[in-house]
Amino acid sequence: MTTRALDAQLAVQRKAARAFKIDPLRLGIYLLLVLFAILFLVPVYVLISSSLKSFTEVQDLSRMWSPPSGLYLESFKAAWSGLSEKGLRGLRGNLLNSVYLTVPATLLSSMLGSLNGYVLSKWRFRGANLIFPLMLFGMFIPYQSTLIPLTQTLSAIGLGGTLWGLILVHVIYGIPITTLIFRNYYAEVPTDLVEAAQIDGAGILGIYWRVLFPLSLPGFVVVIIWQFTNIWNEFLFAVSILQKPELQPITVALRNLAGSQIKEWNMVMAGTVISALPTLLIYIILGRFFIRGLLAGSVKG
């Protein structure tokens, strides 16, 4: 064997050894990542396993952490339709309320945000530099500081205790975040496009409709996902404005179910799964857009 061939063979062997050698630092990183992943998933395990148990099984404290003995779906049925003999309301109606609330509020606030974002990114008028931050401040305030006038005003205009009232509230308090996301989104659209359309004789609305709006789909996806998630999950406005149990969205109904005296944990957990599923599915399917909305919320997009 020539020395050159030997060298080459040794090099191959060394390379193979390196590939198989486990770097302890990398191994440690993987182990920690897996450990944290397991810890993060503990609540999911609790939710799924408890919701698939019967009431007697969920009451057996010695098997709290054991997987369910079978696929018992009665808890989901109870959470959905209620247990009239125990005076527990089902969540079906409340889930529908959440849909009736979230869909129009999301669409309206997205439209409004798109128009505002267009104006603030492409038609900056004098004073816009002051108006924008004043608007943004509205998304950080503790809403407690508006609740008393809000409930008074809604009652005065006949929207107290109604879903329409709550829709209006979500549209209004959604203005800052939707405007912010669209403003940053449209800022990326080259101003040349706007100027070219202007030379062609298009006015402000024509430019929006012909130039900006057709480019807006990704922006709308981000904003719609963000608003849908936020409005679906919202609790404070809903619990302060809607007193009637049959009108409340699912977050409020779930908290009432979980706060009842005798806790049917299997039913509560099944209800929790039901109320979490819509936003969770959106996150899993459209996670990329969800993260963009998330990062946009920190003002600098």
């Binding site: 603030l120 305030i141 500081s145 404070l236 979980a258």
Partner: protein, 310 residues
């Protein structure tokens, strides 16, 4: 240029409805709430008779009644909750982001797992973590206590959010609530840091490696300093969430016995909508607003000014 001029007016007109709504529902209502906090309104019927700062004095009085005691506990709880919640979210979020930045196999799956709690409502989080940290009784252990019992870790069994122990003004019952909140929002800081890390050009690391820097050294001296603006944003966003926290605590533990897990958000809600003490609820909410404004206003000015310069 009369067209452009007309368009400028249309632009303003398009924005006007939003301006008016924000002016009324944010600024007008804050003013109105301030007025309520300075009034004698204590009962179902509105009563705007002037009371000056009486309600605020009542909340902060030294010899104080129940309200002053409760509010004092609330402020301490908010302080410790915010402190530990921020430490956990920023520390753990940064750690996970740096780990995930090491060309990890299955990075997408890990990211999805760490971030999914962000898509849930605080009510969902509260319900699940209430189950996990429910202590049970010594003979009928529940939640993590039952788990520790199985594992023989008797030393870790504890009363969790029902505990009335405290270290100075820090109520230990807050610990489970802090863990639940950090579970929900650590993914947020992780995502922010990860986005920041991905924005750092590879050439910069290469150059440092050529100069003989170790991987750890590159993080310590080059990358972490570059992530500082992200840390600031994360602290502000998470800090303001924690200062006004309500749903999570209200669902998970409520005010707790002796107000061990009470926060201003719960006090405001209960005293206003269950106790009909409107002026007191208004005063609490104005104090909450001031706490948030101290953090948010400089941040808004800072980040928008930086944007204009760019």
């Amino acid at each position: 240029m009369s067209y452009a001029r007309r368009d400028r007016w249309i632009a303003f007109a398009m924005l006007l409805p939003s301006i008016i709504l924000i002016a009324i529902f944010v600024y007008g209502f804050i003013g109105w709430t301030t007025l309520v906090s300075l009034s004698q309104w204590d009962g179902v019927k509105p009563n705007y008779a002037w009371a000056g700062l009486d309600t605020y004095m009542q909340l902060f009085s030294r010899e104080g009644g129940v309200s002053a005691k409760r509010f004092n506990i609330d402020l301490w709880n908010t302080f410790f909750f915010t402190l530990f919640f921020l430490l956990l979210c920023v520390g753990l979020g940064l750690l996970l982001a740096v780990f995930l930045d090491q060309k990890i196999k299955g990075e997408g799956i890990f990211r999805t797992i760490y971030l999914f709690p962000m898509s849930l409502s605080f009510v969902v989080t509260g319900v699940v973590w209430q189950w996990i940290f429910a202590p049970g009784t010594p003979t009928r252990l529940r939640g993590v206590n039952a788990l520790f019992d199985l594992a023989g870790l008797d030393a870790l069994k504890w009363k969790w959010y029902t505990s009335t122990d405290s270290i100075g003004p820090f109520h230990l019952a807050l610990i489970p609530v802090i863990i639940a909140a950090a579970w929900q929002l650590t993914g947020y800081t992780m995502a922010m840091y990860l986005a920041g890390l991905r924005g750092i050009p590879e050439e910069l690391r290469e150059a440092a490696r050529v100069d003989g820097a170790t991987e750890v050294g590159i993080y310590r001296h080059i990358i972490l300093p570059m992530l500082q603006p992200i840390t600031l944003s994360a602290l502000i966003v998470l800090g303001h969430i924690s200062l006004k926290i309500f749903d999570l605590v209200y669902t998970m533990t409520g005010k707790g016995s002796g107000f061990v897990t009470d926060v201003p958000g719960i006090f405001m809600f209960e005293t206003t909508f269950q106790g009909n003490h409107y002026s007191m609820g208004a005063a609490i909410s104005i104090i909450m607003l001031l706490m948030v404004a101290v953090v948010i206003v400089p941040y808004l000015i800072y980040s928008l000014r930086r944007e204009v310069e760019l």
